[in-house]
């Protein structure tokens, strides 16, 4: 593997200073499950890896009445092992359970998945559906970016040289809300999404009408997409097959899939509609307090 230096600072300030010194030749190392392979095959050529796992701010995992704070370096297994996330931010737990196998989940972080900015990243549609905001720190101070505005192209994002992702902040979940992430892959596990869909809904007290909804799509464009109009269209609509089918049709309008070895553009377009319907129905079931059978591996 390429020769590089390694540092593991324990403060955010030290990490930012190090990153500043090495400019664009430094990379942040969290779980390393994407990064180490990318350095090994030569796709990335850093001179310095900054291990961020010892920085307290990046290990925050805090669920309260104000919402959820998820440090950028928290690994997937801690996400789906957290009762508060499983009950209130279920889509995120759904994502973390299917990113790689168990060995990968021991190390891979949601923050890393976002910063790697893959179009098919399994956690990003859930982050968008759950209204996550990325807290970024850098030499010029801190800023916040909504996750739907974070990725700018395959492997590209808004982070400037010297900046790093500190945490993801989620608003508190309201009553009668539910969420789900679902993807299509030809295998049972360990595969890259052909299409992935995140959905989050809020229902009225009678649970027969949508108050609001957010839908997001993965692997159908150069970046994960926020299907805003499709979700907004559900507000005030009755909860039934017809309104859900209309939302799916509206979500398909923004999908711009390509044909590759995982699927043709046509197939992806079709699957997008199917998955939006299923993700919405599962999110509705959860909002009603029903159990959704997301059997592992199915």
């Amino acid at each position: 593997m390429r020769d590089f230096e390694y540092e593991a600072p324990i403060t955010l300030a030290a990490a930012i200073e190090l990153a500043g010194k090495h400019n664009s030749s430094a990379r942040m190392l969290a779980g390393g499950t994407d990064l180490i392979d990318q350095v090994r095959v030569g796709r990335l050529a850093p001179d310095m890896l900054i291990d961020v796992k010892k920085i307290a701010e990046l290990n925050v995992l805090e669920h309260s009445s104000f919402g959820l704070r998820l440090g950028a370096a928290v690994p997937c297994y801690q996400v789906y092992g957290h009762c508060g996330i499983v009950s209130d931010y279920a889509a995120l737990a759904d994502s973390c359970r299917i990113i790689g196998g168990v060995q990968i989940q021991s190390r891979a972080s949601v923050g890393g998945n976002l910063c790697n900015s893959g179009p098919a990243a399994d956690s990003i549609p859930s982050l968008i559906a759950l209204e996550a905001v990325a807290l970024i720190a850098g030499p010029k101070g801190r800023r916040e970016v909504a996750v739907e505005d974070f990725c700018t192209g395959p492997g590209k994002n808004v982070l400037a040289a010297g900046e790093l992702l500190v945490e993801l902040k989620f608003p508190a979940r309201v009553a009668n809300s539910g969420s789900h992430y679902r993807r299509f892959i030809p295998r049972n596990e360990m595969d890259i999404a052909v299409v992935g869909v995140g959905a989050s809904v809020v229902l009225n007290d009678a649970k027969d009408k949508f108050v609001s909804a957010r839908i997001s799509l993965g692997a159908v464009a150069p970046t994960p997409l926020f299907a805003k109009a499709a979700g907004d269209g559900l507000a005030g609509q009755p909860v039934n097959d017809d309104s859900i089918a209309k939302a799916a049709a509206a979500a398909k309008v923004i999908a711009k899939p390509i044909t590759d070895m995982r699927g043709t553009a046509e197939f992806r377009m079709h699957i997008t509609g199917v998955l939006v319907e299923r993700a919405l129905k599962a999110a509705v079931a959860r909002a009603k307090g029903e159990h959704v059978d997301c059997k592992v591996g199915h």
Partner: protein, 170 residues
């Protein structure tokens, strides 16, 4: 060349120090520097699980860990599984169930299965398959492997329940 680092770990119960370059993976250091060749290299990119070791109580692909990251860590490799009293139950089950042919994948399967049974001593078949999704075998086929894990769980249930209670996971 980047400066070599001294890394101190507890490896299979023994305090172990090694010298490594930042660019060396834990897999490389185990095999090439420490001569612990039980841990295998299949793909070197996190797909096959042949390199699975237990790092601070969690299974990881050691090809995707830098050796310098293991500073202060507790590590367990296949060399630490059998005891003076003999093979571990999961090893016996793999032997009896003919759950290996060439054996390259076996250390990874053993590490992953042993860890899993310590967390979940009474798994369903689906749970076993899901847990082993990150381990590939190119010759045996998975049925014998899954059946051996099931056998280990039923034949040695007391063993796993006891380990599990000691760890306080139930």
């Amino acid at each position: 060349m980047a400066k070599k680092r001294v890394v101190t770990t507890t490896l299979n119960g023994n305090q172990t120090e090694f010298l490594c370059e930042p660019r060396q993976t834990l897999l490389e250091v185990l095999r090439d520097n420490l001569d612990l060749t039980g841990t295998k290299e299949g793909c070197s990119n996190g797909n096959c699980g042949a390199c699975t070791v237990i790092l601070n109580g969690r299974p990881v692909d050691s090809c995707l860990v830098l050796a310098v990251e293991a500073e202060g860590a507790t590590l367990r490799t296949i060399e630490g599984v059998a005891t003076a009293a003999g093979l571990d139950p999961i090893q016996k089950a793999f032997l009896e169930g003919a759950a290996l042919q060439c054996g390259i994948c076996t250390p990874g399967f053993i590490m992953q299965s042993e860890w899993f049974l310590s967390q979940n001593p009474k798994p369903t078949e689906d749970e076993i398959r899901f847990n082993l999704a990150g381990n590939l075998c190119r010759c045996t086929g998975y049925d014998k492997i899954v059946r051996s894990v099931q056998d280990a769980a039923t034949t040695w249930q007391d063993h796993y329940m006891k380990n599990c209670h000691e760890k306080g996971c139930h």
